[in-house]
């Protein structure tokens, strides 16, 4: 998109003071600084983007550092390489740089900057001045500010942002026209390349990130619903979660939904805690239970069931990558068993993480050591642990400064250094995980050797023989660690409430703030106080009114999918859905290479060939990203449930539940009730009962077929396919 030249000139006037000259004095010699004057233009016009000259291999022989993180290298590339043709001070306009940028010479990237614009003149004048790099004493951008930093906006509103760079000499300059912008929630607010925010018509919150050179800042936008409502209803607070959620809903002018009915809660809590539907007997027992504390008791019961360990082991085995292809069958299984055992025994989460990080010795005897077998490079160990246990992604910083966060290459190699000494060796007693040698990592760009230091932390005191992973593990799991407890809380919230306070769940950073920071802080504090007892955290979340809300929206919260004003619909993981199909139809499923009788959530090997599991998005565990589990729907999934011979065989199986229930219940009303309890874990409403009875009765001779039809309809309904 072409920028309005007039606007550029106006902005130019406000931007120029950083170079201590006004445009009127352009004819006079002026002091340039490459990083302050030229790098921002290379950023703004996308020259150094990762799809262009910022690519690792550059573009057509011309390579810039991506987003300009390395001004010295960029200056060298422009002034020294290509036999000095890129900049030509004697005749600046003949410089390859200007010729290409302005389209005077063919340029794969097209025309980026037109002669006569302020930007063109800056580049020309810089070349004419000898294309200097500038003095090391020149002020540098220290940080940026974006204004407003916080604003409540009405729906459909627009709001321009202003970005100010603050230099090391405390000078300030408006750099809005050279900054880049991004919204973390485009459903609520978008931002264009000029920094103009456009609010949509959905209440909620968005963070708009501005980036200039290596600095980032964020502007938080809150969009309440428009209509004024009466006073916020007085609702019971089951615990602190509700108070903090309500606080936010008040600001947004949203009312939470009603409390869920027992049947809704029942199905939800079974699926969330044990990944398994209640049987009709279990459903009936709970639904007929008059005790006031029946919900809390049910949660406690579920947490002690073996399916709890099965289901949560499956979840952690995904991100901790129990990958049979890489580890081999025996080791992958031992690794999985370790994860499952830690969950079954409710090992405090911090302890489990420390065991994993510090694992060493014979791999046969130390199953968590298999984690290290997954990687060939120590940097990957560091970045995977950060992503899984801190929710912080540092992989970008392997090659360049993280574009949306504060992490530099030094932070990346500082983390890598902890794992540099990790190696494997085959010995007489099998493979050993060894930790020997210098905990130092080399930054391949600068050649600098970097001492270990955790993110934002300092190098631990070193004793050359010590395994510094121990101090790193202690740092990871310390109560003061700004990410560890938040990451755990956020992942649990995402699991139970259908959406993380931070989304994606493994991308915690200043420029992607939580939708409700007070709630995330409170949950993190709670996790620390509970000494990382995961079951206790689950109890707290499940006990909240927020978790127990109905999924039925009211007129104020229908568009809200961000603030926990109602229970969100959640896709069921492939394994859970398959188990639900098998359980409700009363038929088993055999997985290749797995003993008979195993349920899908117990199949530890994500590589077991199974069409249904693959179709419904089972992850392949090639990355530590939660996003590998694919929750997106497809036509083929729908077709499979509707038509496949496999599902048909289950519904019509002679020993299946449809045949059994039809035989056991000659009364159509009773049969209807049993089918509803089986598939939906609830009693039918009066209307549903009438309509189902009618269908069964009118089927005449073939009552069994009619029952199959009913079961088929339930199995293909939204109510069955989702957890709500």
């Amino acid at each position: 998109m072409k920028r309005n030249a007039g606007l550029a000139l106006v902005l130019f006037a406000t931007w120029l003071p950083l170079s201590q000259r006004s445009p009127l004095q352009a004819a006079q010699p002026r002091s340039f600084n490459f990083e302050n004057d030229i790098s921002p233009l290379l950023n703004r016009f996308g020259c150094n983007a990762s799809s262009c000259h910022g690519k690792a291999e550059g573009q057509n022989g011309f390579k810039l550092s991506v987003f300009g993180y390395d001004p010295a290298a960029d200056h060298k590339a422009l002034t020294m390489e290509s036999r000095g043709r890129r900049v030509f001070p004697a005749a600046p306009e003949q410089s390859l740089l200007l010729q290409k940028m302005s389209g005077a010479m063919p340029h794969g990237g097209g025309t980026r900057i037109l002669p006569g614009t302020a930007e063109y003149e800056i580049v020309r004048d810089w070349i004419a001045a000898g294309a200097p790099f500038g003095q090391t004493s020149d002020p540098k951008v220290k940080e940026i500010e974006v204004n407003p930093t916080e604003r409540v906006l009405s729906m459909k509103a627009r709001q321009p942002l202003r970005v100010t760079a603050i230099y090391s000499d405390d000078r300030r300059a408006d750099v809005t026209h050279l900054a880049q912008f991004q919204s973390n929630n485009e459903v609520v607010a978008r931002v264009d390349e000029e920094g103009l925010i456009s609010v949509a018509d959905v209440p909620g919150q968005a963070a708009i990130m501005a980036r200039y050179l290596s600095s980032v800042a964020v502007s938080q936008i809150l969009v309440p619903r428009a209509e004024t409502l009466g006073p916020f209803p007085t609702l019971p607070e089951f615990n602190f979660i509700d108070r903090l959620v309500d606080q936010k809903l008040k600001k947004l002018n949203i009312r939470p939904s009603e409390l869920s009915e027992d049947a809704e809660f029942l199905r939800r809590v079974y699926l969330d805690i044990i990944g398994t539907l209640p049987t009709p007997t279990e459903a009936r027992r709970f639904l007929m239970n008059p005790r006031v504390d029946r919900r809390a008791r049910l949660v406690n019961e579920l947490l002690e069931r073996p399916e709890y360990a099965d289901y949560w082991a499956l979840k952690w085995a995904d991100v901790l990558r129990v990958d049979r292809q890489v580890l081999g069958h025996k080791d992958a299984y031992a690794y999985y068993r370790w994860i499952r055992e830690r969950i079954a025994s409710n090992t405090p989460f911090d302890k489990m993480v420390r065991e994993l990080i510090t694992a060493e010795g014979p791999i046969d005897e130390t199953p968590p050591a298999n984690f290290y077998k997954l990687f060939s490079k120590p940097g990957e160990m560091a970045s995977t642990l950060s992503q899984v246990f801190l929710g912080v992604r540092i992989a970008c910083a392997e090659c360049h400064h993280h574009p949306f966060d504060r992490w530099s290459q030094s932070d990346y190699y500082g983390m890598q250094a902890f794992f540099q000494p990790v190696s494997r060796k085959k010995g007489p007693v099998g493979e050993m995980l060894l930790v020997t040698g210098q905990p130092e990592a080399r930054n391949p760009r600068t050649g600098e050797m970097i001492r270990p230091h955790p993110l934002g932390g300092v190098t631990p005191p070193t004793d050359t023989n010590a395994d510094l992973r121990r101090s790193l593990a202690a740092w990871f799991t310390a109560a003061e660690n700004p990410w560890f407890a938040r990451n755990l809380a956020n992942r649990l919230v995402a699991h139970f409430l259908g959406r993380g306070l931070v989304e994606p769940v493994d991308d915690l950073r200043a420029t992607n703030p939580p939708s409700n920071p007070e709630l995330l802080d409170a949950l993190a504090r709670h996790a620390v106080e509970a000494q990382f007892d995961v079951k206790s955290l689950i109890r707290t979340i499940a006990a909240s009114r927020t978790y127990q809300l109905a999924s039925h929206p009211n007129e104020t919260n229908e568009p809200d999918e961000q603030n926990y004003s109602r229970a969100l619909f959640k896709r069921q993981p492939a394994e859970v859905l398959l188990d639900a199909v098998c359980q409700t139809t009363g038929t088993g499923e055999k997985f290749p290479g797995v003993p008979a009788g195993y349920r899908a959530i117990q199949v530890w090997d994500s590589d077991v060939s199974h069409y249904f599991l693959k179709l419904f998005g089972r992850p392949v565990r090639k990355t530590a990203c939660e996003c590998e589990r694919n929750a997106e729907a497809s036509i083929a999934q729908v077709l499979h449930l509707l038509n496949s011979p496999q599902v048909h065989a289950k519904l019509t199986h002679e020993q299946g539940s449809v045949a059994r229930l039809t035989g056991l219940n000659p009364d159509n009303g009773k049969l209807t009730e049993e089918l509803y309890l089986t598939f939906y874990s609830r009693f039918p409403t009066a209307k549903e009962r009438r309509s189902a009875e009618k269908y069964l009765t009118e089927s005449g001779s073939d009552r069994r077929h009619a029952a199959e039809d009913l079961a088929w309809s339930m199995l293909n309904s939204i109510e069955f396919v989702f957890n709500h």
Binding site: S551, A636, H640, I718
Partner: protein, 445 residues
């Protein structure tokens, strides 16, 4: 189809092709993407020709020195035993075993200076089907193994579906590099995992079980609508994930009941004579299916045909098995598309992952050769009867105007009115160029 020889990596790829085997990977768009695309389509204008693609992928790698770029003057251990014959285009010769193709030479062109730098099956496949050479960490055994989205996925992602049929269809199996990579599930191909030449050919899961008669199906559908209490309720409106399942549910029924889809998949509807002309084998009937799918609105059909990996006994296998099938299928495809006025709007690309060594090995076979081979390409705005570039005397290297997978990507996107200079975004927001610096092959368009 009977194959007695194996791929050099020892895997018998026939194993993957089980006739009528159950298997269907979905393609569809997420709802927001769908709406966005519809909105865009409503406002779209520009040249009218809306080009589809049929890619005939000759897996294993076709020997082009024995087919489209013969070297009669080369020594016998290079030129092989096949003679060249003239085609409809004066001065343009092809193999004596392609007489029918020679008669359609006005409808497509040959890029004889095509090549790239990788002569291993897995990475070369990926390179040819995405325009991107794989990077570190590539695992060819994954299925799909895409580090970058396949052309079909990009087309589906960029252009969406035209009708009730999916935009991107693979048959008779999913090629391992035909996946969507970071474009995600909304861009995965719809796979017809079944051999259209089999008498029992049908699309898996598309039709309800045979045991159900029409009246019961109608009753079921009505019953589903009444039982599914969330379907038209506030719950579905308020939950974007449920909304997309609801939309897919509708689209699944559309696909099941769509006359277009039903027609497209019902290959038995074709006149026997035309089916014979295409050839009663996997390649022939897959090409015919490709034409039917394009007619029904599919934007990209990917036909994965095996096995061209002729390390042994190249000449016998070529002249007795592969080339007669190829000659019938490809010549009929071009003629049929032209007869129906579809050639202008259907780009046909014919290539394997690479070619084969000019020098014949001790087993009378030819090994992998990626530096120079011939790409056959026609329709969709490509000028027919042209030869672009030349190979050197022994077809070892391009002699002039070398082109590669990046250039094929740029040309393909250009013909489909997708800006080759455009970008895709990974979920992390990283921009990826659509074509990796490819140049449009101007001599073709």
């Amino acid at each position: 189809m009977k194959q007695i020889y194996r791929y050099c990596d020892g895997i018998d790829r026939r194993d993957f092709l089980r006739i009528g085997a159950v298997g269907l990977l979905g393609i569809e768009l997420s709802l927001p993407a769908l709406l966005e695309r519809q909105a865009r389509a409503a406002g779209a204008s520009g040249p009218k020709r809306d080009v589809s693609v049929i890619w005939v992928f000759l897996k294993g790698g076709m020997s082009t020195i024995d087919t489209f770029d013969l070297k009669p003057d080369a020594p016998s251990d290079i030129r092989g035993e096949f003679k060249s014959i003239p085609t409809r285009i004066p001065g343009l010769h092809v193999s004596e075993h392609l007489p029918k193709v020679a008669g359609q030479m006005d409808k497509f062109s040959l890029v004889r200076s095509f090549g790239h730098r990788n002569a291993d099956h897995g990475p070369a496949d990926h390179y040819m089907l995405t325009g991107y050479h794989p990077i570190a960490g590539f695992n060819p055994n994954l299925k799909p193994n895409n580090q970058y989205p396949s052309f079909g996925s990009v087309i589906g992602h960029k252009l969406g579906s035209r009708s009730s049929v999916p935009p991107y269809v693979c048959l008779p199996i999913l090629h391992a590099s035909a996946g969507s990579a970071f474009l995600g599930p909304s861009a995965v191909p719809f796979v017809i995992e079944a051999d259209p030449s089999a008498p029992s050919f049908s699309v898996p899961d598309l039709a309800p079980p045979m045991a159900l008669d029409a009246s019961r199906l109608a009753a079921r559908r009505e019953l589903l609508a009444s039982v599914d209490r969330y379907q038209r309720a506030a719950e579905v409106r308020a939950n974007s994930t449920a909304r997309s399942v609801s939309v897919f549910g509708q689209r699944a029924f559309d696909l099941m009941t769509s006359p277009e889809a039903k027609k497209a998949f019902d290959i038995a509807e074709e006149p026997e004579k035309l089916r014979d002309e295409y050839g009663r084998h996997t390649l022939g009937q897959s090409c015919l299916m490709g034409r039917r799918l394009v007619e029904a609105g599919v934007r990209c059909v990917m036909i994965d045909h095996s096995n061209w990996d002729t390390h042994f006994d190249n000449f016998t296998i070529m002249k007795t098995q592969l080339l007669p099938k190829f000659d019938a299928a490809i010549s009929t495809l071009f003629r049929d598309l032209a007869d129906r006025g579809l050639l202008e709007s259907t780009l046909v690309i014919i290539s394997g992952e690479f070619g084969r060594t000019p020098r014949i090995n001790k087993d009378a076979g030819r090994d992998h050769w990626s530096k120079c081979f011939t790409l056959a390409i026609g329709g969709g705005g490509i000028q027919g009867g042209r030869v672009v570039g030349t190979s050197d005397a022994w077809a070892q290297e391009p002699a002039e105007n070398p082109y590669g997978p990046e250039d094929l990507a740029a040309t393909l996107y250009h013909l489909l009115r997708i800006d080759p200079k455009g970008e895709l975004r990974t979920p992390e927001g990283r921009p990826i160029a659509l074509s990796n610096d490819g140049r449009i092959i101007r001599e073709l368009v």
